[in-house]
């Protein structure tokens, strides 16, 4: 199969999946009464005064397929309903909370990927040496750690014991005032970048201090996952014939490991990068909850405990769609890198 044909086929495959994703969310929605469901259509709190009108307008008492039609039309118009916990429409709540979460992801993702690849291949290259045992133990303990517990323990030590070294939340009260003052322009709402653009060192330092613990919490579990995978995939690559050839022709060990083995070992790691995304999203909800770090995950948690369905389902839908596209990108990269995927057709 040509690469182009593969891409077209893969793109077409997205349509039924996205349709299914909306059906699943809509199915969950059906577990609620029309009055509760009305929250997903309301764009202004005043409308809650006249729920009957909302039910009438969006046909919430009509057959399911009619409702689905109304619902999906609203989704395409960017209306996901009203989020009670933050008193604003779901769409704008997401846009407002996204930068905080992005800030976490920007720091955690490279740490997870490059750290995991580096440590995993180090361990494999020194199999059964001290460094291998240490990373293996670290990986299996890290993989077993409850994220929420790790976060709280870090908080206990670095906020409690070291008297406020790395505090929870996103900014201190003082810096929060600075950020929201007239003199400070919020270009991107990513505090780090805004602080640099405004040339404000104190805000920069403060937001970095607030980021340390959440980033560590988010990183450890996922790093352990990549590390384990990279180690076993690297071990397999190192046992292959081409490694023997490379060594036999006198290449130095460094080149063998980093050029011949690692590049081939990276392919399985790439295939699971979709899972890393899922791990990050799962982790973000817990991490932001623990540190009271007001991002998407914190908002999802608030919505969940307050049984605010428009928030929860909006968040789930957003993540489902995002995940589908992440997997698309991963698959296309995979096909680009590994010709077996597109030439051999099915890989079972």
């Amino acid at each position: 199969m040509e690469l182009r044909a593969y891409i077209v086929r893969r793109l077409l495959l997205i349509i039924p999946v996205l349709f299914g994703v909306t059906l699943l969310i809509f199915g969950l929605l059906q577990l609620f009464s029309p009055v509760e469901r009305a929250a997903l259509y309301v764009t202004d709190p005043k409308q809650f005064a006249n729920i009957a009108e909302v039910i009438e307008k969006y046909g919430l008492d009509q057959p399911v397929w009619v409702q689905y039609g109304h619902w999906i039309t609203e989704i395409f118009q960017g209306n996901l309903g009203w989020s009670k916990v933050v008193s604003q429409p779901v769409t704008s709540a997401m846009l407002n909370f996204l930068p905080a979460t992005l800030e976490l992801a920007i720091f955690a993702t490279p740490l997870i990927i490059f750290g995991g690849i580096f440590l995993g291949s180090k361990a494999a290259a020194h199999k059964d040496k001290a460094i291998d045992h240490a990373t293996r133990l670290g990986a299996i303990v890290g993989w077993s750690l409850p994220t929420f517990w790790l976060g709280l323990m870090l908080l206990m030590v670095f906020y409690g014991l070291f008297s406020g070294l790395f505090p929870p939340e996103r900014l201190s009260t003082e810096m929060n005032i600075v950020v929201h003052s007239e003199a400070f322009t919020q270009y991107t709402k990513l505090h780090i970048i805004d602080a640099i653009l405004n040339g404000n060192g104190r805000v920069l330092l403060d937001s970095l201090r607030h980021l340390v613990l959440p980033v560590i919490t988010l990183t450890v579990v996922n790093l352990a996952f990549i590390m384990r995978l990279m180690r076993s995939s690297m071990l397999e690559a190192l046992g292959k014939g081409y490694i023997l050839t490379a060594r036999a022709k006198g290449l130095d060990e460094n080149t063998v490991v980093s050029k011949h083995a690692r590049r081939n070992a990276l392919i399985p790691v790439l295939t699971v990068s979709g899972y890393i995304f899922a791990g990050l999203v799962n982790g973000v909800v817990i991490t932001e909850t623990i540190f009271n770090y007001k991002g998407l995950g914190w908002w999802a948690w608030q919505s969940a405990v307050n049984l605010d369905i428009s928030g929860v389902l909006g968040f789930a839908l957003f993540n489902g769609v995002l995940f589908v596209f992440t997997n698309l990108v991963v698959d296309l990269l995979y096909a680009r890198i590994d010709p077996r995927v597109r030439l051999g057709g099915k890989v079972t």
Binding site: I25, P146, F148
Partner: protein, 295 residues
């Protein structure tokens, strides 16, 4: 017999798997003998609710009466962690058991018959796999109403697709083998071929994943109840016990670690439980992976 001896030899060779077995055995003993280790106080009606000693919000450190101290609201931590072992096994075993059955049935149908059945089942798994597990489980729990049973249902719904896919893939790999052809030629029914010839030769990777996943499921369940979507307050549940400690992470000035026991002890129980299953799963994998064995 020789393969059993080989298995035991492999197990002995790897100290980590011994640790895993010991940890899980210990937890099994704790779960079985919970009423003896931490007997419910007299007149206590439901043993799955943690007994309280007063209603003061301030946790009390370990003392003679409360071995591990008490949390916010004076729930006894020792009682909670011991009986919480039962809840952990309950969640882990029920979810994985159901998911295995569903996965084996749907995965076999898809892998064995192929064609339109395969296409339909796989597209459905695609949809479920489009969500991060915790997020989907969270949405389902909210939709069904937070409770321990609904957490179990939510985790089952969110995690069966990966099993169906895994089993399907492994069945595809053996479907065309000669011995399957032979069984077919001798007139074996589909059911017989699947259960007698195909599954025994393709089920091991799934069993490895299942043993690794018991730990993961318990982690997800603990996370959900930590987030406040699990049991009613006071139910014996490790995740919830940690959420009780959230207001007491940092002690009073001058003694920042005053309430360490409220968060550390239940967390260690979760960590050890999950670690035990992970070590055990790793050991299984080393034994069952033919590429690694007998080298």
């Amino acid at each position: 017999m020789t393969s059993l001896r080989f298995m035991l030899y492999q197990l002995r060779r790897n100290p980590l798997s011994i640790i895993g077995i010991v940890i899980i055995l210990t937890f099994i003993i704790i779960a079985i003998f919970a009423p003896i280790i931490a007997p419910p106080p007299e007149g206590h009606i439901d043993p799955y609710m943690i007994p309280r000693d007063g209603y003061s919000p301030i946790p009390k450190p370990p003392n003679e009466e409360h071995l591990f101290g008490t949390t916010e609201g004076q729930y006894d931590i020792f009682y909670g962690v011991i009986w919480g072992t039962r809840s952990a096994f309950r969640v882990g075993l029920i979810v994985i058991g159901v998911v295995l059955v569903v996965g084996i049935v749907l995965g076999s149908l898809a892998g064995y018959f192929g064609g339109i059945i395969d296409e339909i089942i796989m597209r459905i798994t695609d949809i479920f796999l489009a969500f991060p597990i915790l997020i989907l489980a969270m949405a389902i729990t909210v939709a069904l109403g937070p409770s321990p049973d609904n957490v179990i249902i939510a985790l089952i719904i969110a995690s069966w697709p990966s099993y169906a896919r895994l089993i399907r893939g492994d069945i595809l790999a053996v479907r065309e083998e000669d011995y399957v052809e032979a069984a077919r030629g001798m007139g074996g029914s589909h059911l017989r071929i699947i259960t007698r010839h195909i599954l025994p030769n393709s089920i091991y990777p799934t069993l490895v994943m299942a043993s690794l996943d018991i730990g993961a499921v318990v982690l997800y369940a603990a996370a959900l109840s930590f987030l406040g979507l699990g049991a009613q307050p006071g139910y014996v549940d490790w995740g919830q016990m940690i959420s009780f400690s959230r207001n007491w992470i940092v002690g009073p000035p001058g003694n920042p670690l005053a309430y360490w026991y409220t968060v550390t002890i239940p967390g260690l129980f979760i960590l050890l439980f999950v670690l035990g299953w992970n070590l055990l799963g790793d050991a299984f994998r080393d034994i069952l992976d033919p590429r690694l064995s007998r080298k």
